[in-house]
């Protein structure tokens, strides 16, 4: 039995500065390992833990920095710059939709809003029965969901975790007769600071930074930060490793080029970057599916001003969800109010005295955020050669998405008016608010779909998925039922990319479950992958 020692705080991470200081490594070096995992977020961290615990030699390569929790400042602007990919300006080609994503050790779990939602059984029934992915049936995945639930302290918000913003939503729903419930979150003894999107300095959020990564490290996994994988190496239909570049995160200068020789490669770089790595690597793609079928779950925020002071930005960030429309319309609402700086990004903020009044009413505001299901018609493409090319993200709302978002906006506004809102701020690029429910429909009718819905509603995506979807048919999907890339032995994907179809639930829990499932498939096939 190996002795298992785990640090009480922080994770052992080899950073660019450590590599620069180590004379034995130099500007070019190689590493041998059993498994190399690309990305340390929800999917990568679970994979690292499971394989390291099973006795495999595991190396995790993460493009972002290592931020120990003690360095989180609870300042969103600061965090967006340091911890989010492309300083939170990763956008589609028309730059009206931002794709937010963590770029740090722990990935997006570090900056997540902590909502843990398990999709309804019908989703898994479809994956298993209609798509033939037998291992993904609801009963088959039950145990995995329960395990994540226990390990990550997933619990239903208690009364003290439901803040005033959420209470306004509850009040509105009760009047309208809409179903609502407290959300489930992965937090241990929440300190109720409301700063989830800026990381949790007191380690209460059960992100990968304080769970699967230190656990994996305790079992011997090595983690490199500041290390961007450029491509997967393949020979004779088999993955043999990856090439990566280690950069100084402050200056961007290259510290070293590294080649990793591995028997198994697992991509867990998230739904945007995993397909880009596969494209840069010229992985086989019979049906042209790599990077396609991206579901974005367009997110819009409706703000409301009430008569009384709410301080709706205090307390747990997300309190309740409105689940009334999940099945009928494919959207869910979550209560949450952003910080002042984020308000500047999410809406038209008036001008002059009206702006002053708008901001003075911040303490009287509440926010309701709609996440809608979309058809999975987005795409990510790598243009150019593997070192100097660029990523292109294509997604604009279809007319159907546009109509759905209009309906979601209208419902969110009605919930707030029912709770007594004096004014509702509509999430449009045009300057627009409504002062009563009678005013609302006329205002919304003015929002024009225009050209491909661009610059209509202000939308962001926090939860893209499906860009390397799982399926049995290599012409219709990217990875097999085991999570292995069709046609490349030993190359697996274990992140949000492999969702076989779009889902309307928040994805983190499912990503972790799917990663655990793929880990088991890799271990089940160990004799064909590993020499020892």
């Amino acid at each position: 039995m190996r002795p298992i020692n785990m640090r009480r705080e922080g994770v052992n991470v080899t950073q660019a500065k450590d590599v620069a200081r180590d004379p034995s490594l130099g500007r070019q070096f190689s590493i041998q390992t059993d498994v190399v995992i690309v990305g340390s977020g929800a999917g990568g961290a679970v994979m690292a833990y499971e394989l390291a615990k099973a006795g495999r030699k595991v190396l995790v390569l993460e493009s972002g920095r290592y931020w120990p929790s003690a360095e989180f400042t609870e300042n969103l602007g600061d965090t967006l710059t340091k911890v989010y990919r492309d300083q939170a300006a990763q956008a589609n080609t028309t730059t009206d939709v931002l794709f937010l994503e963590g770029n740090c050790v722990g990935g997006s779990t570090v900056i997540g809003a902590c909502v843990m939602q398990r999709p309804g059984d019908e989703v898994f029934q479809k994956w298993s029965d209609e798509l033939g992915l037998k291992g993904l049936g609801p009963r088959e995945l039950d145990k995995y969901f329960e395990q994540v639930e226990g390990w990550l302290h997933v619990h239903t918000n208690e009364a003290h975790e439901v803040n005033t913003t959420a209470h306004k939503v509850i009040q509105g729903c009760e009047r309208m007769g809409f179903s609502w419930r407290p959300v489930q979150r992965n937090v241990k003894n929440c300190a109720l600071t409301g700063h989830c999107l800026a990381g949790c300095p007191s380690d209460r959020k059960m992100s990968a930074l304080v769970t699967h990564l230190p656990w994996a490290a305790a079992y011997g996994a090595r983690i490199f930060s500041d290390t961007e994988v450029s491509r997967v190496l393949m020979r004779g239909g088999r993955a043999t490793g990856v090439e990566a570049v280690i950069r100084d995160p402050d200056t961007g200068t290259v510290v070293s080029n590294v080649r990793v020789d591995a028997q198994v490669v697992v991509l867990a770089a998230g739904a945007i970057h995993t397909p880009l790595i596969l494209q840069r690597s010229q992985a086989p793609d019979r049906g042209g599916n790599i990077g396609r079928n991206m579901a974005v779950q367009p997110f819009t925020q409706v703000l409301a001003t009430f008569k009384e002071d709410l301080y709706g930005f205090q307390g747990a960030l997300v309190g309740v969800e409105v689940d009334e429309f999940l099945k009928s319309d494919g959207f869910t609402f979550y209560s949450a109010l952003a910080e002042p700086e984020q308000l500047m990004a999410t809406g038209e903020q008036e001008a002059g005295d009206e702006h002053i009044n708008f901001m003075k009413s911040f303490k009287r505001m509440a926010g309701l955020n709609a996440f809608a299901i979309d058809k999975g018609e987005g795409q990510v493409i790598w243009e150019g050669d593997h070192l100097n090319g660029r990523k292109v993200i294509k997604w604009s709302p279809s007319r159907e998405d546009f109509e759905r978002i209009t309906r979601a906006t209208s419902i969110a506004a009605r919930i707030f008016f029912s709770a007594g809102a004096e004014r509702v701020w509509l999430p449009t690029f045009q300057k627009m608010h409504a002062d009563s429910v009678f005013d609302l429909d006329e205002k919304l009718a003015r929002v024009d779909y225009g050209i491909n819905g661009i610059y209509s509603y202000r939308m962001n995506s926090f939860t893209p998925h499906g860009t390397c979807r799982m399926g049995l048919d290599p012409y219709e999907s990217v990875v097999s039922a085991d999570g292995e890339v069709h046609g490349v032995s030993g190359l697996y994907v274990a992140d949000a990319s492999i969702f076989p179809t779009p889902v309307s639930s928040t994805p983190q829990w499912t990503v972790q479950v799917l990663s655990r499932y793929v880990a088991d498939r890799i271990l089940a096939r160990a004799p064909s992958h590993f020499l020892s």
Binding site: Q87, T93, T95, Q147, G450
Partner: protein, 208 residues
Amino acid sequence: MTTKQQADAAVAPLASLSRRKLLKTALWASAGTALVVAGGFAWLRRSPVDELPAPDGLKQLSASEYHLFRRAIEVLLPTDGTLLTPVAQIPVIANIDHLMGLVEPAIREELGIALGLFDNAAVFSGLHGKRFVDLDDEAALRYFDVWSAGNTLQRTLATVVKKFVYVSYWRDPATWPPIRFDGAVSDRWGIPSLGNSPLPDESVEVTA
């Protein structure tokens, strides 16, 4: 602290226009036929502020851009006599100057043209007969409002100017107390760190 993210976010709408190679032509068209017909004349309309120097220390803003933002700040953030932190106490122009330095060079060039257009189009747009920098408060505010509800290009430009100004003001924690936003609290509240979560008890092993 000023950031590249905010710079990118502020010019994001503009970036899309440039990428679609629409900017130069469409910007002019958006200002209306009158401007197209008398474009050269409008561009040359002089303003008394043209004679005024920009303060020392600006690295990115040209003198005319400085004057435009200075006027936009006065119009967009009339904090005098309100409970808000006086705009004069926040280095808004310095923050805008810094953000400008973070904008991609190609977009920065387009941005210069766009800001020039925003200023000059006021001569004809709404028949003000004056550049934006010379409009009185009421007319300048109306100019923002009309453009905020205008066509895509007008909305884009109004949004870009507003975002630069508002982000450069509101990101400063000194602006938060009057709106009662708490900012960072964990240290103040003495919240202890829980550290890493203990290794799971795997006596109940999950099997596929």
